[in-house]
Structure formats: C-alpha cells, structure tokens
Symmetry: C2
Subunit: 125 residues, 2 copies
C-alpha cells in the first residue's frame, strides 16, 4: 500500500498507452487483472485480452492526464484521449496490489445538451 508508488504505476500505464506501447502497459498489470466498462456491461479479463483489445482499437490515442488522486490501494484518474479527430474523456478507478494494477473500472462520459429548465441558475463554460 505505497501510495506514491501506486501513483507512479498508474502514471506509467497512461504514459505507455500514450506511446502505444501496449506490451509495456501489460507489464504493469497483475496476473489477475480485470477491467470493467459498466456503461456497456463489458469486462476484459487478463493481460492478454487487455493488450489485444487495445492493439485492435481503431485509432492511435494520445493521452493527457488531467487529474490523479491516490489513496492507499486506490488511484483515480481523469484523462483526455485524443486521436487528432476525436476527443474522449475517461474517468478510471484503479485498485493496486503488490505494485501491480489488479482492478480497473473505466467510465466514458459523453457531451450532452444543457437542459433548459436550469438555465436560470447556471453559467455556460
């Protein structure tokens, strides 16, 4: 439960994905690694599937880590991914164990139109 080390490991994961070095990213994962995408009800089990999914992803993503919060075995990141055309936002909850990433849950929030009913109390960014 070394918070600083856990923070470094998750930063290294995003750096490896930014370089499209997926083998290097895979090295940071625990043998029992599980990744969940609750919005699509998908689960990626194990390092091999993680590397395969990312290698087959249609696009070459560059990564900007906006925020990284580490507490005990938990690390949370807020990341912007961009392939030159599209920009995506990922909010990820990581759980670490023994210096490896054991569990990951990713959320992918999409833009939506500001609703009219609340415009009286809200400013536009």
């Amino acid at each position: 439960m070394d918070e600083r080390e856990n923070r470094r490991i998750v930063q290294r994961l995003w750096d490896a994905i930014d370089r499209a070095d997926l083998e290097d990213a895979g090295e940071l994962l625990h043998d029992d690694y599980v990744l969940e995408w609750p919005q699509s009800r998908e689960r990626v089990i194990g390092r091999e599937n993680f590397v395969a999914v990312n290698k087959n992803y249609p696009g070459r993503w560059r990564i900007e880590v906006q925020k990284l919060v580490a507490s005990g075995d938990d690390v949370v990141t807020d990341v912007i991914l961009s392939d030159g055309e599209h920009t995506e936002r990922a909010v990820s909850f990581f759980q670490l164990s023994g210096g490896k990433i054991l569990r990951e849950v990713d959320y992918w929030p999409e833009p939506y139109d500001a609703p009219e009913w609340r415009e009286k109390w809200v400013e536009r960014m």
Copy 2:
C-alpha cells in the same frame, strides 16, 4: 488538509442529498463554491444556485455511494442515483478547503451498446 474529515464532509453531502435536505447540503459548501458539468459545459456558481438547481430538479433522488477515495484536499466519489424509475451514475471530483467543499466537477456516464469489433476479447457482465 484533514483527509478523514474531508471524507466525512463529502459523505455528509451525499447523505443530505439523499434526504433531499438541500439547505443542509448547502451548509457544507464554501462561500466560493463552484460546480462544473463539463459534458454540458455548465457551471453552477455559489451555494444559492446549487440549492436552487437541486430544488428545481424534476425528481427525488436516493443516493448510494459505491466508492469514495480521499487524498489530501481531493475526494472522488462514484455514486448511483435513483428516483424509482431511472438510475443515473455520477462520478464527482471534489476539492476541499478549510472543512468546506470549494470545487466540484461531476461526470454523468450513460449506458451504450458494446461494440462488435472487440467482442472476441471481452465478456458481458
């Protein structure tokens, strides 16, 4: 920067929203409170607007805190909101100052269909 206290304050915020006690929720906010919803590019400035937006929200939300990660002045929560008919997920980044919530950024991830291209490496939840 009392991590345990900050964790308690954010838990109290969600408890107050769960009870629909928005005045109580407002008490936990800093005088310079700002809330951002990046997906809709909206910003709620100050306690009064926070209370007004929530009071006028069409629905009475019950809250289940799934995860709370606190580190220094940062607190992150993963929350399920439910009004009996609909269920929403909120991932929120809080920044605290002097025992009050100074900044909040909320993301609202929505369900989407699992894409076909990756079904070979993915299990369904």
